[in-house]
Every structure is written in C-alpha cells, then in structure tokens.
Amino acid sequence: MNQDTLVQLAYIAASVLFVYGLKMLSSQRTAKRGNLVSAAGMLIAVIATLIGQDMQYQWIILGILIGGAIGATAALRVPMTSMPEFVALFNGFGGMASLLVGWAEYQRNLPEWSGGEPSYITVVAIALAALIGGLTFTGSLIAYGKLSETLNSKAILYRGQQIVNAAIVAVALIAIIVFAINADNPTTAASYAPFLLLVGLALVLGVLATIPIGGADMPVVISLLNSYSGLAACAAGFVIMNTMLIVAGSLVGASGMILTAIMCKAMNRSLGNVLFSGFGAVSTAGGTAKQGEAKPITPEDAYYILENARSVVFVPGYGMAAAQAQHVVRELGEILEDNGSEVKYAVHPVAGRMPGHMNVLLAEANVPYEQLVEMDEINPAMESVDVAIVIGANDVVNPAAREDPSSSIYGMPIINVDYARTVFVLKRSLASGFAGIENDLFFKENTRMLFGDAKSSVQAVINEMKEDA
C-alpha cells in the first residue's frame, strides 16, 4: 500500500468521524463526546495531510500558531451572551479560508494553465470558492457588527436595493465566465483581472445582502451563513479534488440549510421574505390595536401569586440576554421549586439572536437540561400552568399570531402563554417588539405587567420571597 492510499484511508476515517460526531451532537447525552469525535476526525485529517506529501513546514507552523492562539483565546474568553456574534464571525473566517485556498490554488496553477490545458472543473470550483467564501466573509462581518451592536441592527433598505444586488450577481456570473474562458490565455492578466473582480464583487455582495436584514431575523442569517461556510469548504474540496473536504463541507452546508428552514418555519415566513423584505424596518400597519388597560403589579403582588403557584413556566427572549438576567431567573426558579412549584423553561425556536441561544444561557446559569422544554412540548400543557413568566420576549408570545389575520405575524407559531392562568410580563415599557406591532397579550384579562429592568424585577421578587420564607 503506498503512501497516497494511506492518506486517502485516513480521509475516509476522518469523514466517518465527522458524520458520527454530528450524529452524536443531536442528543444531549452524547453531544459532548460527539464534538470530541469530530475534533478527532479533524486531527486525523490534518496529520494525514501533513505527512502525506513532501512539504515545507515553516509557514504552516507559523499559521497554525497564530490561528490557534487567536482561536483558543477567543473561544475561552467569549461570554455566553455573545455567542451569536462569535459564531457569526467564525462562519466568516471559514469562508475567508476557502476563498484563500481557491486563490492560492489558482495562483499555483497559473503558470501551467496559461497557454496550456486547464481543468475547467477546477477553474469553476476556484471561482465558486471565491464567490461563496467572499460573500460569507463580509456577510458574517456585517452580521457580527449587527449582533454585537457595533452596527445598527436595524434593516437598511433603499430604493432599488434588489435590482442593485441582482446586478452584482449578474456581473459576478459574467466575471466567472470570462475568467473560465481566459484561464488558458497566455497573458495571465486576462484571467487574473476577472478573478480579482469576482473576489471584489463577492465581498461587496456579502455586505449588501446582509444589511437589509434586521436584528430579529438574525437567527436565519446566522444559519444561512453557517450553511454557506460549509458550501465554500465544499467548493474548496472541488478545487483540490479532495473527497473528504466535499463530504465535510456538504454536511455543514446541509445542517445550516436545515436550521435555516427550521428558523423560517418558526417565523412562518419564507426564506425569500426574510432575505429581501427588511421585516421590521418599516412599522407595519397590520394588527388592530385593541388597546385595553395594562395591569401593572409590584414585586410584592407577584410574590403572592407565585407563592401559591403549583406550576410555573419561564419564557425567555432576547431581553433576558440583554439584561444578563439568566442567573437571577434560575435563582427564582430554584426558590419556586423549593416552595413546591413545578418549574420549566420554555424556549421559542427563534427566541434570541441565534438558534438555541436562550438554552445555552440557561444551561450556563445551571438550569438542568430536563427543565428546558420546546415550544411544541409546552403548548398542549399550557392550560394547566398557573403562572407563565415572560422575560424579554415579545413577538414570540403575541396572541395576534393566532387570532388576528390582519397582523403581520399572523400564522407564526407562538408559545401560548395567554392560555396559562396568570401571565407575568417583565418589560421596560409597553413598546412593541422587533416586528413593530402591538402585543395584545399585555392587555389580556390574566396578564400582569411587571415594569422595569428584567434583572432587577426578578431580583425584587426573589427578595420578597426570601423575606417571607
């Protein structure tokens, strides 16, 4: 067996480990090991590549040291509340790496191709790696900016936006064709110019395609960019004709696509609507504002109700992360449990700024996994819930989605907190959510508003409970 066969076998092993690792990630019991299995696959892939052919190692070592230091420091330091922007940024780095691989491969093949016989599959793959990788990179940077609130998270819309974007895509496709036609041109500039144009367009496109997407739609964007980073790796796999790269890239591409579909479904919107409509940028007129009277309560009132509650469900949203309230929420949950209540935490699929983010924050605050429940699990049981406590969530508990066909969120699946006997809404004011529509929940008969910062409100309730205990 020659060396090359061994390397290929190692690649097969790595692919199997990726598949298996991903599978194990789908259950809480095996997830941690699954991640290690997939990391082991990566290690095998890297080692096999390094020993598979004669190489000079100095640049590799330099690159790995720099990248490893940055990656490890960032990963160990990032607070859990910042996870959305962190993942967005890392998606972008993957895209950039794929762009650079395509470019380096083009540069390496250039002397052979100019005036010779290029492989057109490789040429097109290089172009695709540059296009997908480039737009993933800048798209992720914009997403990072919006999520970390370095940039305004509002959707930026202007007249003719889609025409401009479509024009850029068209020019990019023309650049790919010109690039491919001229790949064998003895004058290297003939193919280099369209290639550089393509890279530039990809980078611009990433920015322009991401700015019209508002803060509340970020779960979709992150999922989509995640998918793109996988597809970019796939394209890089076609460039260097590496099956493992293609398999691993497709797995990530598929997983990102599925999450994207889940997020869209949870908002009852099509992907096209999310990407192009700039939802929430203009305050939609929909929704007949049946203004009633909101009933504010004090922490003391809240305490009297909670004291006798047999079952309590917390429904967190982005506001919990913004107020860093997850730890006090868990503390209140524990006090209620000690008091004999059954406590659960129900998380809407698009609560927060990335899929599953609320669950990570609650896990960080030591909420046991079995108390975290999905929307479909809690809704049928909602009528037997004594108190539902909404913390920093708004549109995902708005009954208009169920009742008001004129509302812009009509049809979106929501957590039916209004079916609980009593609903507490912790909120700074009666302001509307991302979707810019009134929330009838605030004015329902069984709703009580606890105004103020989520963290201090919860703390105040805890103090009441402790005082009395």
């Binding site: 990726f18 690792g21 991903l22 259950s27 809480q28 997830a31 941690k32 997939s38 990391a39 990566m42 892939a45 590549t49 390094l50 052919q53 004669d54 000079q56 640049w59 590799i60 330099l62 690159g63 790995i64 720099i66 990248g67 490893g68 940055i70 990656g71 960032a74 990963a75 160990l76 993942v87 890392f90 780095f93 993957g94 950039m96 790496a97 794929s98 380096a104 540069q107 390496r108 970019a232 790796a233 076609f238 260097i240 004709m241 099956t243 493992m244 293609i246 890239g249 497709s250 990530v252 997983s255 990102g256 599925i258 990335m354 899929p355 599953g356 669950n359 896990a363 030591n366 999905e374």
Partner: protein, 99 residues
C-alpha cells in the same frame, strides 16, 4: 472526467446524509450544533496546508496559503473549544451543577 463526476456524486449524497443526520436535533442543542458544524467547516484547513506547505511555490501562493491556514485554524480550534465549553454546561439534574 469520471473522477469529477464521482466527486459530484459524493457531494450530492453527502448533502442528503447531512439532511438526514441533522433533522432530528432538539432545539435546545441548536447553538452547539451550529458552532460544532462551524468547526467542521474549518476542514478547508486541509487545502490551506497544501497551499502553504508546497515546495515549488511562487511566494504569492504561499502567502495566500499561510493566511488561509491562519483563518482555518481559528475556525477549527475556536469552534471545537467553544462547542466543548457550551456542551459542558448542559447538565442533567443528577450530576447537576453546584448550587
């Protein structure tokens, strides 16, 4: 040509495999799934290593390759570490964290 077709074949099958694998992930684990998948997308490091390490290269190609190694390594190392950090926090009640 046939080897390229085989690659395409692999690509299509792997997409379907991915869809089957992921479609049953509970929403509680979506964030670690995404960051774990993100780490896997750093597999492009393999291409980066080849570019940065090849012997008979022009400088431009090596520079691009080395940059690619940096980006891909950030992705791989950071992605796996942060996923591990997150998953370590998901505890069941039996061995639940200290209160």
């Amino acid at each position: 040509m046939s080897s390229e077709i085989l690659l395409l074949f692999t690509f299509v099958l792997a997409i379907f495999l991915g869809v089957e694998l992921i479609s049953k992930v509970p929403s509680q684990l979506h964030t670690p799934l995404m960051s774990g998948a993100n780490a896997i997308s750093g597999v492009t490091i393999v291409g980066a290593l080849v570019a940065a390490g090849s012997l008979a290269e022009g400088t431009v190609s090596v520079v691009l390759g080395t940059l690619a190694v940096v980006f891909a390594t950030i992705n791989v190392v950071g992605g796996y570490l942060v996923t591990d950090r997150m998953l370590a926090m998901f505890k069941t009640k039996q061995h639940g964290g200290d209160k």
